[in-house]
Structure formats: structure tokens, C-alpha cells
């Protein structure tokens, strides 16, 4: 009895970490973009493209790295589109983001159906797991910590890297000033436009990594709407994480834990309709924003186009 509870808990913790990653990458992407003052509401579309092109590249060449590269390029290009329209053309970032979301859903669905018709077993080659050797044999933490794909550790590494960049480097300070007060940043000699372009493109690449994680380490397949709204939940995680990389990590772990829990409850077949279990992540994303309202402050110039005086 006790061992079975322990097994359940260990599985849950392991899954929690794993399920937080497809949210963590787009959340960090969205965070970078928002820190520089641009709303990225195209995360969902960028994730979907990342997932599809990663899948396609890996399935075609048998090399997941080529898939990953293709996925990142697709995310970066969509980021560039968002950057150009919101920085140069100064049109509504919200509407362009939505357009990118619908475009990504359509493009990936279209391409997938095109190749799906002609092939029998279109499975992508997955990344091989890291072999931690003896560490993997440790009780509990062996499975919880040392059983993941490299992308999981890359995600955590990215959190540290971004936190260090924002709060420990001069470029990071410039970066944040672009999102807080672009006029002052400009006066101080910071290239506002360049920083914003870089932020949004990096944001797209990170979002596509979240999608690629799903198709290259989890499913090996692409399905239409594979990301199931994670690009939107990621925005809620940014707010819950109070616009801080470490806060975003904690928020993603919370969402990951909820996702893992609902998956496990489904398997237990307790008689709860599965639809209600599947609702949990979405409802949690709504509740999360309620919990922190009034206590967080978003970057001051967010969503406002910068017009050089």
C-alpha cells in the first residue's frame, strides 16, 4: 500500500516536471518579449509551427536535431513577422498575435494532412534520453530528477540564464529599460528598435522550442492543434510569475503539476468525467491571474509602439 502511494507520488512529481516544460519555453519567450515592451499573443501559433516543423524535419531526415532547427527557424520567422508589424508598422500587437495563432493552426494542419495522406507510419525520431548511469538508480530523486530528456534541463538552464541576463548584466538592464521607458533608454543611447526586434525573434524561437518539446520528446507524432492552448496558458504563467524568470518557472511547475495530476486521475478511473479533468489547466490559468491581480506590475511601456522623437 505504502509503496504504491510512493510510486504514484514519484510518477506525479516526474510528470509534473515534464509537463511544465512545454509551458516553460513559451512563457520565457513571452516574458522576454514583454520585458522589451511587446505583447506576444502569437505564442500558440509559434508553438504549433515549432511542433510541426520539428516533427517534419525529424521524420524526414531521421535526425531530431535537424527537426529542432527547422522548428526554431519557423518560430523565429513568425517572431520576425510580429516584430516587424508591431515595431515598424506599429499596428495592434493583439490582433497580429491572434492572426499568427490562426495562421499557425491552419498551416500546420494543412501541411500535416498533405503528408499524412501519402505515408503509412509517419513517426518522428525522438531524442535519445540522457544516461545518468548510477544517478538514475538513486531512490526517488533518481526518477524525479535524472530521468528526463535534455530539453527539460535546457529549460531550467534557460531560466537561470535569462535571470542572470536581466538582473546581472548591463545589456539586461538596457533591455528592461526598453520595456519600461523607451524614451529614456533611447536618450541614454540604447538602440530601442534593435533590442525589441531581438526580443520578439528570440521569443518566437523559445515558443517553438516548447512545441518541439512536445513532438520530439513526448508524442513522436504531430496532431492538429497538438499544443491545445498551451501558448495561451503560458501568458497566464507569466502574469502569475510576476514577470520574473524564477516566478515564471514556479508558475509553470504549478501548471505542470496540475496537468500531471489530471492525467493520473484519468488513469485511475475514479468515475469523474474526463472532460472535467481536462478543464483543470484552463480553469487554473484563469484562477492564477485572479490570485495575483493588483500585486503585479507589467513593464510600463508594454504594448505601446515606440515612436522616435
Amino acid at each position: 500500500m505504502d509503496t504504491s502511494i510512493l510510486v504514484t507520488v514519484v510518477t506525479w512529481l516526474t510528470m509534473s516536471i515534464r509537463m511544465s516544460i512545454p509551458l516553460l519555453f513559451p512563457s520565457l519567450g513571452g516574458l522576454i518579449s514583454q520585458k522589451a515592451g511587446i505583447y506576444n499573443f502569437g505564442l500558440e501559433g509559434m508553438m504549433l509551427c515549432g511542433a510541426y516543423f520539428a516533427y517534419y524535419g525529424s521524420y524526414k531526415t531521421g535526425n531530431p536535431w535537424i527537426g529542432l532547427l527547422l522548428g526554431m527557424i519557423s518560430g523565429g520567422l513568425l517572431g520576425l513577422l510580429l516584430a516587424f508589424t508591431s515595431i515598424k508598422l506599429r499596428v495592434s500587437q493583439l490582433v497580429v498575435g491572434l492572426g499568427i495563432g490562426i495562421f499557425g493552426l491552419g498551416l500546420t494542419g494543412f501541411l500535416f494532412r498533405m503528408i499524412g495522406i501519402s505515408t503509412t507510419s509517419p513517426a518522428a525520431t525522438l531524442f535519445t534520453k540522457i544516461d545518468f548511469g548510477a544517478l538514475k538508480e538513486l531512490p526517488v530523486i533518481g526518477e524525479v530528477i535524472f530521468s528526463h530528456d535534455w530539453m527539460v534541463y535546457a529549460g531550467f538552464g534557460m531560466v537561470v540564464l535569462i535571470a542572470w541576463f536581466f538582473y546581472r548584466t548591463t545589456s539586461g538592464l538596457n533591455f528592461r529599460s526598453v520595456g519600461e521607458n523607451p524614451q529614456v533608454a533611447d536618450t541614454a543611447g540604447v538602440n530601442v528598435v534593435l533590442y525589441r526586434y531581438m526580443a520578439v525573434v528570440v521569443s518566437g524561437v523559445l515558443a517553438s522550442l516548447g512545441g518541439a518539446f512536445l513532438s520530439l520528446t513526448q508524442t513522436a507524432y504531430f496532431t492538429e492543434n497538438l499544443t491545445a492552448g498551451r501558448g495561451w496558458i503560458a501568458i497566464s504563467a507569466i502574469i502569475l510569475g510576476k514577470y520574473h524568470p524564477l516566478g515564471v518557472l514556479l508558475a509553470c511547475l504549478l501548471f505542470g503539476a496540475a496537468d500531471a495530476a489530471q492525467m493520473q486521475i484519468q488513469v485511475m478511473s475514479l468515475g469523474i468525467p474526463y472532460q472535467f479533468l481536462l478543464m483543470i489547466p484552463y480553469i487554473l490559468a484563469m484562477l492564477a491571474m485572479v490570485g495575483v491581480v493588483g500585486k503585479v506590475r507589467s513593464p510600463a511601456a508594454m504594448g505601446k509602439p515606440y515612436i522616435k522623437a
Binding site: T85, R90, G99, I102, G104, L105, F110, M279, V293
Partner: protein, 344 residues
């Protein structure tokens, strides 16, 4: 300004269609062979024409829903969910209340849709008004919740005992909307949708509450300064935006599908965003844009059946139209500044 902006919008659409055609040829389908299906299927014959105008109806409602919310500064991307939940409201009245005369039964069923849609939008609305929570995320999340909720309902509570399919009960004959054009699916909802469009824009542009609504949308701070009751006005906007989407769901149910199945909405709620953006939130613009989107949607179905074109191409084109049309606003402004010397 008007002509330039219309021309530039048309150009944006042409570009979107062109990219769609390029994608098709990449996929090994000759666009020149596929396009005739689009034209023939959507308005080349009596049935196609009727089907296009039938698809027009829910698209118009969801774009009105988005446009009204937009005017009042509320970013409602939840028409998809509100439409679905509205259909649930309509099925409860239309399928379970017996012995009503048709006019009353239809009216009550539509009212059911309006109430349910407004309540669904109201969840996100209340979270925004009282807690300042981001309505874009909340309305989007509620779409996913609505799909799951309706999926649950048609697997259990709303499923007729004798049905082996996962569907809701069908609406009774007294709640069905009459057909307008024989040998086509076109029903009375078409007329209703046009009347409602006129009414909505009358309210928004010609009444005091409409003025307050637009003021709140244009500048919240000055609206508060002018003594406008923000909570009250926003509540009206919420009832309108959710009610319109819910009404769209109700009319789709009572006129076209009669029962709720999996995939009942088929993305009308998201299409409405594109329609409203393309129509530039203007009544005539929205009606024309709705017509175009309906043609593309029905034509895409014909292209799928006739030439094997995957249906998601619809979303590719619509996503591109949104991005291009909104981006072309920049060009419109630039041109107006240089050609006419004023801002559009």
C-alpha cells in the same frame, strides 16, 4: 480615405489568397484546377449559393460580437465558446419545452441562446471589471472549457437515451426556423442576422448608451472623468457581445444543425475576429467581409471534396488576411498623409 482603405484591404486579401495558392502548388495541387471548385461550390449553383448565405449567418453574429466588444474596449476572443454555450441554451428550450406555438418557441429558444452566451462572456467580464484580470486570456480559456463542457453534455445529460451517437436531443419541429429558399439550407436566420446587424450598429452609433460604450472603449480614463458609469456600460457591452455570439449559436442550431454534435461550431468564433478586422468594425464592411469569408469557407469545402485540398488552408488564408489587413492600416495612413495630407 474610404476608397484607398478599401483598395488596400482588397490588396491584402489578394496577397493572402496568393500565398494560399503558392502553398497549394507546393503541395502538388494545381491552383488553377482547384479554384473552379471554389467558385462553383460557393455561388456557382442554387445550392451552393444557399449554403454560402447559410454559413454567412453564424459568421456575421460572431464578428458582430467581436466588433461590439472591441468598440467598448473589451477584447473578446471567446465567441467560439459563447456560441457553443448559446447553442446549449437554445437546445434546452428548443428540445425540451413542448406545446408552444412556433413563433414563441423560436423566440424563447433564441433568448435561451442569448442568455447562455451572455453568462459565458460574463464570467470573463466580471473577472475583468472587479479583479482587473486579462480578458483575452480568460475568454480564450473559456473557449477550451466550453468545448469540453459541451463534449461532456453530449456524452451524458443531453444525450437522448435511445441514441447510440454522441449528440444532444434534436430541437422540436416547432422550434425550427423556416427555410427561405427552397432546395437550399438557407433559413430565416439570414434575415434575422441582417436586422440584428442594423440594430446593433444603431445602438452603438445612434444612442446615448452606444456613445458611452464607445467613449469607454476609446479612453477609459476620460470616460470615468466624464462621469460615465464604467461598470454599467461594460456590463451592457458584455451582454451584447456574449449575447450576440450566443444568438449565433442558437440560430445555427435552430436553422441548420438542429442538434449539437462534436465540432458544432467549426471555428466560426475565430473566423469572426478576422471578419471584424477586415470589415474595419464598420457595419457595411463587416457584412461584405462576412460574405467573403462565407464564400471562402464554402468554397474550401468544395475544393476539399473536388480537388483534395486540405480544409485547414482556410485558417492559413484567414490568419494571413488578419495580419495583412491590420498591417495595411500603416500603408493607408502613410498614403493618406502624403496624397491627401491628412490621417485616415
Amino acid at each position: 480615405m474610404g476608397v484607398i482603405s478599401i483598395l488596400i484591404s482588397m490588396l491584402a486579401i489578394v496577397f493572402a489568397l496568393l500565398i494560399g495558392a503558392i502553398l497549394l502548388s507546393f503541395a502538388g495541387i494545381n491552383p488553377w484546377e482547384a479554384i473552379p471548385y471554389l467558385i462553383k461550390g460557393s455561388f456557382g449553383n442554387r445550392y451552393g449559393f444557399g449554403e454560402t448565405l447559410t454559413r454567412f449567418i453564424p459568421l456575421l453574429f460572431s464578428s458582430l460580437s467581436f466588433a461590439v466588444a472591441h468598440k467598448s474596449g473589451f477584447f473578446n476572443v471567446g465567441a467560439e465558446g459563447q456560441l457553443l454555450v448559446g447553442a446549449v441554451g437554445a437546445v434546452l428550450v428548443g428540445a425540451y419545452i413542448q406545446g408552444l406555438p412556433p413563433v414563441l418557441h423560436i423566440s424563447l429558444a433564441i433568448a435561451g441562446g442569448i442568455v447562455f452566451g451572455a453568462v459565458w462572456a460574463g464570467i470573463a467580464g466580471l473577472l475583468k471589471i472587479f479583479l482587473g484580470s486579462n480578458e483575452l486570456i480568460n475568454t480564450m480559456m473559456l473557449n477550451y472549457v466550453a468545448v469540453l463542457l459541451v463534449d461532456y453534455l453530449i456524452h451524458g445529460p443531453l444525450k437522448p437515451a435511445d441514441s447510440y451517437l454522441y449528440v444532444s436531443a434534436a430541437v422540436l419541429p416547432s422550434a425550427k426556423l423556416p427555410i427561405l429558399l427552397s432546395k437550399t439550407p438557407l433559413h430565416l436566420g439570414f434575415i434575422i442576422s441582417l436586422v440584428v446587424t442594423a440594430a446593433v450598429f444603431y445602438i452603438v452609433y445612434r444612442t446615448p448608451i452606444g456613445f458611452q460604450l464607445r467613449t469607454v472603449g476609446a479612453n477609459l480614463r476620460s470616460a470615468a472623468y466624464a462621469g460615465i458609469n464604467i461598470v454599467g456600460v461594460t456590463t451592457v457591452a458584455l451582454i451584447m457581445t456574449g449575447g450576440l455570439a450566443g444568438m449565433g449559436g442558437a440560430i445555427e442550431l435552430l436553422g441548420t444543425q438542429f442538434k449539437i454534435i462534436n465540432g458544432f461550431s467549426a471555428g466560426y468564433g475565430y473566423d469572426g475576429i478576422g471578419v471584424a478586422v477586415m470589415g474595419r468594425y464598420h457595419p457595411v464592411g463587416i457584412v461584405l467581409a462576412t460574405l467573403l469569408f462565407a464564400v471562402i469557407r464554402v468554397g474550401m469545402g468544395a475544393m476539399q471534396r473536388g480537388a483534395g485540398v486540405p480544409f485547414p488552408l482556410l485558417n492559413v488564408i484567414q490568419g494571413l488576411i488578419i495580419v495583412f489587413v491590420i498591417a495595411s492600416g500603416y500603408l493607408t495612413n502613410k498614403l493618406s498623409e502624403t496624397v491627401i495630407g491628412g490621417r485616415a
